[in-house]
Symmetry: D2
Subunit: 324 residues, 4 copies
């Protein structure tokens, strides 16, 4: 079937590519004409403006917005809402805040336009491996878009079936779910990223402990000369901690055990923060997910005000003057 | 080659079985004669006492101790040390504390007995999938035992090779490593389990947030009706959080999304604690791994003294009397 | 001077009392006529409706709202806005969210009505000790209300002066500050409560460790028979951890070291949550303040879904069945 | 009465001074002859060697060791044990690990020498304010030393009595307790310091949130221009978070709100670490105390290996290259 794509960055471009390879057609638009031209060369239909984009879509239209979450996505959805008509579908495949989805869906509803939010995991690997998708929206919209999702999803592949799932929704096994009404897709994706932060930090702390065990500062009975890269590699086979993140870790450590070239400055996108906000709203204790986010905050500070205040107090009660 | 095995529980028994299936031979001993008889029926040579066990082993001997960490393992290693002689090898495959390994190795060294510590991950799945092993000891001992480890390890299997590891130690790819001298194996396994706790808690908190999003207590714009089992399943394909622990989670949730039958009481073995002790010795911040362990401590308390003290303070300054 | 007070609960009533005792006058209103009558008996002027309340206030009016944060305060401020006129002042002394203050101030501004937010600490002790106040609003409004704040504040009292503050704003020493424009008062009070949670949890964890040191489960070299009440008492004198919260703790433990009668169920008001939301917005790591809030969440759950999921995973990989 | 003091640093010297001022006598020794001479000038009896020190003490002797915890204290206690005789008392007033106390007491017991461990809080303020002391040892030894402790303790002073303590051990009100047998004193002091870390970090995080609220990076409705020093000052009067640590904070911020001159590098002594080890041994969740210690660890690192590993994973799955 036909899909319109707005935003031809790494994610949007590769989604179109995966669709074209499976026989679908695409109308594409991006602020950058070169990005449009590149996909036209691969078989897509290009558009030079949002108006042209909408006019080239078959009715009822399906337009996927793949732009940075925030003001740009907000404005683009609003413009599409003006240009489109009843029974059309707007899909937000970015990382929007789920309450924004709920609001947008309510705004578009009187006009009869469907709003579908798709939380997408897979990063740069999606073109090849497929995209894991968590989708919010109406049954009608999802039924119509099903051929698109089926193509984009990884499919059952070689991953063993989960025992006990016989007779249940098979879409989950193929790599996409209908999570609920508008907002549900991005909510699930948000928690997914919150978990991702926690998993990453668990590995990071563990490998940090291993790394420090090589330190000359330790007593003899605590000091080793561990090969961090080999440890990551061995855990990939038969161990309880095997995972895709561990595969990536093993790859990063192979040949660069010191992790040279990484500054230690770690960014965070909004989902980790929103996950904590949700936990707080729900009164769910989330020490691990919080600590994972805070570690990233801390990685971006040099000398924190909090730490200086500790030193100031220590000086006050003990006359301690911190070294360094 | 021949291996002696002391302790024929689930782990020890299955290790022997995996060896026998690959053409190795085994002498086995357990306090429980029925456990011995069961493995004799599968081709092993049985022993009725530790003395008989040692006498039936070919020289130089290789004896694997697979008993609960602590007093039993300590005593058994000591007895073996008395019964065995120079060039024999004692292998501790349990979950011993790495400083105990270092001490035992030093005690056995004057007599010329090798001490090898093997951290083993794989649980009940090891017989079929193979065991991931982290090994500490001398090069001599490990070279001699290599055929054993090669059989027990999962092997390269279908797991893709890590790019950039060409020319490096291939044992890691097969699922076992020589981590360093005595103690290094259990040290790496200890951190492995610390990470495992962190990973598990990250998933647990995330799914808890998803579960609570179904709560009727929440406002409309926060409430969903999420299918937790489908979410676990979909993340298995193409998502950043896919892992073996997630596979198990999906299996546990299939058909039992409410997790009925689980009390919420969560045990912990020593490794999580020792990992934190190591982090503290090394001055490594480990908020995630700590929070994961503490969550288990907390799961085993009803009304904690700490919580009561909070209520007492609240009553003191605000006259608050807690409900319930 | 004259102050109007709406909401005559423990806080509102005692604020009026403290004002009357110092020679101020008060017009009072509450949904409960008995609460009004009680303060009329102590010298206040009563009102039977919000309209009557406003009509009895001298122009320019000063009306203090001391109601539960949320819908009731919101509605009352809105009604006052309708009834009052340019140059009047509405004071919100409750625990409102600071962004609500900013919004309300903007709404009232076109009409010329001043909005002042007062974060108040002191609880049931305020009548006697005075109230610590953090105030947001315009200079004009605060200048006019200064006699009120001066009476309500604790004053310099016997607390030693802080060296180095010579020549600085003396209001802070008397127990009230002008924190900034509308919203600033409640923002500072919010962080105050976030810190309060952290302090309380630090004591709670420490006393929990002391209490458990008396446990018969511990080895000889870890077990004591500590008198928890005496420990709290001794720390009140000359120790680095002395504080008002410790004074309250010592009082709670005196004669009830087991903390009998406390369920361990600990409530939380909104400020702790908002403090974390602010930390997250500001990218400030706040592990301690988060852990303090989460401990309260956890105190209100029996068997958490997160814990059950851990047990389910443990069963999956190790065949472990949790006891209990 | 007479006390011998070994170690005339800030703590040891001031303890002797406080004793001399109250009419006690002292024999003093230090590796540094100038430190000895200074106290001789103030009325103490000096010694040039440990042997001379012991010989000048009246029998039964009381010798207080006030040296850095670890090897120096260990060696000094051992030498005193050799030089002293039955019924003498050795007091360790430093920050020794409580299990070392238990071991030393057991070693000295056959010879009839008493071992008393004194956890001392008060820092540089002790000379003037008195020392808060937590004491472990036998009833006999403590009874004999009571005049010393009474002089060193702050005394009841102007601090209000805790209601409900009538008829209980009055030593706690004077600022010292008999916590239990040898080791109990340092155990209680250890937890005291663990709590201290938690309290300090709670303030540090809160003030960090306040400080960041002044940031130009924030949206209008989150940004203020708070006077951090005034906030610390106002909380000293009538607020729930008032404490001695807050007094010190207000002093540090007065005139140096930016905390210029502090590097943000924060040291930690052993007690915070031992407190966590104790919590782990006792299965007590201690997220706040752990986070407080870890914040200090983190303050001493620039780019942590853990953080670099996060960046490496992010690059692996998303092609993200961290800025900076």
């Amino acid at each position: 079937m036909q899909l319109g794509m707005i935003g031809l960055g790494r994610m949007g471009g590769n989604i179109v590519r995966r669709l074209l390879r499976d026989g679908h057609t695409a109308v594409v638009f991006d602020q950058n004409p070169e990005a449009v031209a590149a996909l036209v060369a691969e078989g897509a239909t290009g558009a030079a403006s949002l108006e042209e984009f909408v006019s080239k879509l078959d009715v009822p239209r399906a337009a996927w917005v793949m732009l940075p979450a925030g003001a740009i996505t907000e404005a683009t959805v609003a413009q599409l809402g003006d240009l489109m008509q009843a029974d059309d579908v707007i899909i937000d495949g970015g990382n929007s805040f789920y309450k924004d989805d709920i609001r947008r869906a309510a705004t578009l509803k009187p006009k009869g336009i469907h709003y579908v939010d798709v939380g997408t995991s897979g990063g740069v690997w999606g073109l090849e491996r497929g995209y894991c998708m968590m989708i919010g929206g109406s049954n009608d919209a999802l039924d119509r878009l099903d051929p698109i999702f089926k193509t984009l999803a990884p499919g059952v592949g070689t991953i063993p079936k989960t025992p006990g799932r016989e007779g249940r929704d098979t879409r989950a096994e193929e790599g996409y779910i209908h999570a609920g009404p508008s907002g549900a897709g991005h909510f699930v994706k948000m928690v997914h990223n919150g978990i991702e932060y926690g998993l990453m930090q668990a590995y990071a702390e563990g490998f940090d402990i291993l790394k420090h065990a090589n330190s000359k500062d330790l007593a003899e009975d605590q000091r080793f000369d561990l090969n961090i890269g080999d440890i990551a590699e061995v855990w990939r086979r038969g161990s309880v901690v095997s995972s895709w993140l561990l595969d990536l870790t093993a790859g990063a450590l192979a040949g660069n055990e010191a992790l040279d070239g990484f500054s230690g400055f770690v960014a965070d996108s909004g989902e980790g923060r929103w996950t904590l906000n949700a936990a707080i709203e729900e009164s769910v204790p989330a020490n691990v997910l919080s600590a994972a986010l805070y570690a990233r905050f801390r990685s971006r500070e040099d000398a924190s005000y909090a730490d200086k205040l500790l030193s100031a107090m220590r000086k006050g009660f003990g006359g301690h003057v911190e070294p360094k």
